[in-house]
Symmetry: D2
C-alpha cells in the first residue's frame, strides 16, 4: 500500500495517516520530496482499508501494490491447484475437465439419458439444475429434492460426478451428502453468507463469476471460501454484462488468462450461458481451450426445443460428441488432452 | 407476446409455435402476410417463456408487449403505494422519507448519538449496518446481534424506526422481531431464496438495485416479494456499475422516473453509495428530489474519518442538518415536503 | 507520477526507470524500503507516459498523482470560465444558459417559429442540426448549407445565437463565418483531427461527452482545443452508454459535479439525448440544475410526432415554456437564475 | 418492421401509423385481435425510422424484424467477401491474414527492420502508425508524412502491403496514392464524414469496432462505406469498453461469430489493443483463430520497452515467430492455413 499526501499537508495530518497505517499492522516508510510525500507500507497490508485511508485529511491518493487476496494468490502458491471432484476425476491438471448436462433436471429418464450420452462422448462430470435461479417468480423453479434424487440415479448409472447449484444455505446438508460439486451461481457470487457456509465444508465449489464482477472481486469471493477452510474452489467464467445485447453476455476469455496468472485455482468456461445461443457454443468452446481454460461446462439437452429452461443455448448429445472431438484436437495444440 | 415466424417456416413449425403458446394459457391470433407471419398472444402472457419460444424452429423473433410483472405493475394498481415503516412514518406519500445513519453500528454511544442528531435534523428513520457485506473476508464484518441491540436502544431513545441489512435467512426471525425495515442489499438483489423468504413476512423491505441490474430485473425482484404475499416493498436506486471509475457507481436518476411510471412502489435514492464521495452527497440528494424520488437514504457518521467502514462517503450530522434544509426547499418546488 | 518497483528489481532496472522518467523532464526521488522501492517524480509530469513506464522491466505499477490536463485544470485556474456566445449571452456564470431547438432544421418556417417560441419562453440560444450524424446511411442526413442559412434567418428574427454541429473539417470556414457556437458531437469527441482544427479558431465550442468516454478522457478532449489556443469550450453531459436499455443512454449527473471540481469550464446537460424520451425531459432538467449544471440543451420541436429526427425525445414549445418556469424555481434554490 | 398499437388506440391513430409506414415505401398488413392490434410491414423496411414510429400516439412498441443493413447483409450476399490488399494477398479466404508491425513508425531502420522480421515469420501485411490518435494533446502524435515515406520504403524492401490509420480527410489523396489498406480507428468508427469519403475510394478499408459500438452499429458503419460504392471493407474486433479494468478493453470473440453470421465481410482480431498486455497476445490470438477470425492484426516492435507508443502491448519479432507457428497449428484444426 502506498499513500500519497496532498501538497499542502500538515505534519499532524501526516502523523495521523502514519498512525492509521501502523494500526493495520504494517511499518511505514516515509519519503518526503519537495512536492510529493509518500508513505509506503512494509509488511502484510491486507488489513489496511484503502477507502478509509483515502478519505483522511491530507491524503491525496492511495494505491494498493499487492493483491488483497492471500490464499488464492499464486505468489504464495505457485503451483496450479488440482481439485478432485470424483474418483479419478480432476479439474486443473493437464487433462481438461468437461462438465455437461441440461440446464434443468426434468425427469429421471431425461437426466440419465443425457448422462449416458455425455459420458460416451467423454464428459468428466454431469451438470443439471434442481434449484433454478429465475428472474421471474412465475417461471419454472426446478424440481428441488426430486431433482437431486434423479441426479444421484444418473451418477449411479454412469459413474459421472454430479454438479448442481445451491441457492439456499438450508439445503447445504443435503448437498454435502448427495452432490459432488456445489455450484454457486453468478447471482450469488457476492452472497457472502453462502460463501462463508460453503467455506466450512470440504466439497468442491464451482464459483461462477458475477454478471458485473471484476476479476479481483471474483477472486475475493473465492478467497472467502478458502479463508473458511475449503481449498477446493473451481472458478467459472460465464460472460459479463456489457452494453452489447446480441449475445446474452460477453464472454471474457482474457479473464481466464488474468485469473490463471494471479491465482492458482483452476478456471473453466461456460460458453452456453455466456452467449445464450446454441450455434455459438462449439466455436467459443474451442476458443476457450485455445486461450488456456482448464475445462468447459456446456449445456446439453436431449430435446432442446422442448427444454423447460435455456433451450435456446443447449446443444444436442450428437453435437456434443462432435464438439468433444474438436476440443481434443485444439487441446493437443496447447499441450492438453481430454 | 408477439411471435414473428421465419420467412420459410413450415405449417408444422407454425402449429408447434401456436401449441407452445396455447400451452402457456393464451389464445393465439395468426396473421399471415405475403412476407411476414405474426402470432399474437391474447390474454395473460406472463407464463410464456420468451427464450423458449425464440428457439423454436420456424421462429424468427419474439417480442414481449406487456411487462412481465403483474403485482408491481402500475397498470393494474394505478395509485402510488405508501408503506408505513413506523408509527406515523410513511414512505411514498407527499412527504419525503429521509433515512440516515452510519454505514455500520460501531457502539451504543455512536448509534444513539447519530440517531439523536439525525432525528433533530428531521430524519424519518435510522439506518445502520449490523451485518456488513464486504468484498474482503478480512474486512470488518459488522457487530452482528450486538449491533441489532444497539439499534433498538437508539430507536428507544429517539422513536426513529430502524433499517438494517439482512444477509442470511437464518437471521430472519430476529429481524422480524427487532427491526422496522429489512434491507436487501445490492449484492443480494437476485438472491431468490432470500427474496422468497422475506416475501412471506409482512415487514417493509428496502430492496436495493443490483450493481448491474436492469430496471426490469429490479422490479422482477420486487415481484418475487409481492408474489410471496408481502406488499411492503420500497425500491432503492444506489447507482449502477459502468465503465466510469471516478465515482464508485453511476447514479441513474432516470431509473427513478422509469420505475415510478411502470410500478406503484415508492423509490428512494442512496447518493452515498452511488457516488462514494461525501462532497457529492448534497448535490446528488437535491437532484434526486428534483427528479421525483420519494426519499433518500444517506450515510451520516459522527466521525467519518474514523468510521470503520465507508467513511469516505459519510457526511457529518452538521452537514446532514444543512442538507435537510436544502432538501426542504427543493421539495417545495416539486410539490413535496420533508 | 509515482513508480513502484517489483520486489526483485535489479539496480540496472531501477536506473533504467529513473532515466526514463528524467527523460520526460522531471526530477526523481528514490525511496527504498525493505520491501517496496518507490520512485516519485518532482516537477511537471504531464509528459511522462504511464503506459510506457508501466511496461519497463522492474516496474510493478505506475500511478499518476496529478491530472494529465493543465489548461483545463482548476488547480491552475481556480475561477469558473465564463464563455460569451452572443451579445450579452454567457455560459458559466450565475445565470443559467438554456439552449433549445429542434434536432434538425427542417424548413425556414419551422426553425424561425421554434426560435420565436423558445425566445419568448426565455431560451438563451437556438440549437438545430444542419448536418446530422446518423447510424444509418439511409436516414435523413440534414439539410446542409441550406440549414445553416435558415438558422441565420432565425437568428436574424430573434437575436438568439445559433448552435449547430460540425461534422467535417471542410465546413469549418463556413461555420466560423456563420454560426455562434460549434457543436462537436459525442461520436466525434475523440476525432482528434477535428479537435485540433477547432482549437485554432476562437469560436465557442460545445463539446459533447462521448458515449463511453471517461470524465478524464472528456476533459482531455477539451484540453486538445485549449492547447490549440481556443479557450472557449463548453462541456455537455449527454448520457453514457451502459447495460441499461430502457433509456437511450444513462444520464450521469455526478459527472457534472466531478468536472466542475477538477476543471474550470462550464458544463451544460442534454436531457433529451440522455433519456431519449420526451416525458423524462422536464424532471431530468430540474435534477441537472439542482446538481449544479450551468445550463441545459433541450430538444424542442413544433410538431414532435412529425419531426424528421428524434421526435420521440422532443418537447413542444408549450412544454418548454412550463419547463422554463420550473427551472427558474429550482435555480433560485441553488443560487442561480434563468 | 412490426408495430404494436396501444390497447386503447383510436382509429385515427391507427390510420396515422399506417400512413407513416406506407410513406416509407412498404405495404401494411393490419391484424386486429381483441387485445392486441399489430401492423406488419411488407417489403423493404430499411427506410422506416424505428424511433419515429415508436413515438406516434397510439403506438405501444416497434420491432425491427430484418437487419437495417442491406449491402453488408449475408442474406443478399451469401458468399464470404474476399478482399485483395496486395498482389496475391487476400483477406477473407481459407488462408488467414496476419497483419503485423509497430504501433508507430519511428524511423526508417525500425520499420524496415520489423517489416523484414515479420515477413520472414509469415506475416501478410505490415502495419505502422504515421498519424496517431492519442488521448493527450501532449503525447507523441506520429511522424506524419515522413512516416508514410518510411512505410513505403519498408514495402519496397519486403513486398508487404502497408496498413496505416487515416485520421483526417485532408490526407485521403495521399493515402489513396501511397498505402494499401486505410485503417479507420475505433474512435472514428462513427465519424460519418470520414466514412462517406473513404466510401468514394476503392481502397481496402480496415474498420475497427468503436469502443462501445454494438455489433449492429459497427456493421452500419461498414454499410456507409459500401453504400458509397467501396465494397472493400475488412472489419476488426479490438475489444470493447466494459467495467473491467484489468485489461485495456474486453476482447469480444463472440462478436466475430455474430458478424460472420449476419454479414459477408471478413473479420480480423486485434489482441494487442484489446488486452493491452504483451503476455496475453499469444493466447488471445490462438483463441481468435479457434473462434473463426479471418486473421489477426498484432503489434510487433523491435524494442518494445523503448517504443514511443504502446510498448506494453507489443511483442518482439522472436515472439511473433513463435506465435505464427502456433497460429498455424490451430488454423489447421479449423480448416484454415497461414
Amino acid at each position: 500500500m502506498v499513500v500519497i499526501l496532498k501538497q499542502n499537508f500538515t505534519l499532524e495530518q501526516m502523523e495521523e495517516a502514519v498512525r492509521s497505517m501502523e494500526a493495520g499492522g504494517v511499518k511505514v516508510m516515509v519519503s518526503r520530496g519537495s512536492e510529493t510525500t509518500i508513505l509506503g507500507a512494509e509488511g502484510d497490508a491486507s488489513r489496511l482499508d484503502e477507502e478509509f485511508l483515502s478519505q483522511l485529511p491530507g491524503v491525496e491518493r492511495v494505491m494498493r501494490v499487492s493483491e488483497p487476496f492471500k490464499k488464492a494468490n499464486r505468489k504464495f502458491h505457485p503451483d496450479d491447484s488440482v481439485i478432485e471432484i470424483g474418483p479419478g476425476v480432476r479439474v486443473g491438471g493437464q487433462k481438461l475437465a468437461v462438465i455437461a448436462g441440461p440446464c434443468s433436471v426434468e425427469s429421471q429418464e431425461q437426466i440419465t439419458g443425457v448422462a449416458r450420452d455425455v459420458k460416451t462422448a467423454g464428459a468428466s462430470a454431469l451438470r443439471g439444475g434442481a434449484y433454478k435461479p429465475r428472474t421471474s417468480p412465475y417461471a419454472f423453479q426446478g424440481m428441488g429434492t426430486k431433482g437431486i434424487d434423479f441426479l444421484m440415479e444418473a451418477r449411479e448409472a454412469t459413474g459421472l460426478p454430479i454438479v448442481t447449484e445451491l441457492m439456499s444455505a438450508d439445503q447445504l446438508p443435503l448437498f454435502e451428502e448427495c452432490v459432488d460439486v456445489i455450484q454457486i451461481g453468478a447471482r450469488n457470487m457476492q452472497n457472502f453468507d453462502l460463501l462463508k457456509k460453503v467455506g466450512r465444508t470440504s466439497k468442491p465449489i464451482l464459483l461462477k463469476r458475477g454478471l458485473s464482477s471484476t476479476i479481483e472481486e471474483w477472486i475475493m469471493s473465492a478467497e472467502y471460501i478458502l479463508a473458511g477452510g475449503n481449498p477446493n474452489v473451481i472458478l467459472c467464467e460465464r460472460g459479463i454484462r456489457t452494453f452489447e445485447t446480441y449475445t446474452r453476455n460477453t464472454l471474457d476469455l482474457s479473464a481466464v488468462l488474468a485469473v490463471k496468472q494471479m491465482c492458482h485455482l483452476p478456471v473453466v468456461v461456460d460458453p452456453s450461458h455466456a452467449c445464450g445461443k446454441a450455434w455459438m457454443v462449439e466455436r467459443m468452446s474451442l476458443a476457450a481451450i485455445a486461450a488456456g481454460a482448464d475445462g468447459l461446462i456446456v449445456e446439453v439437452h436431449n430435446d432442446p426445443k422442448n427444454a423447460l429452461c435455456d433451450g435456446a443455448q443447449s446443444i444436442t448429445p450428437a453435437q456434443f460428441g462432435d464438439l468433444m472431438g474438436k476440443v481434443g484436437t485444439i487441446a493437443a495444440c496447447v499441450g492438453r488432452s481430454v
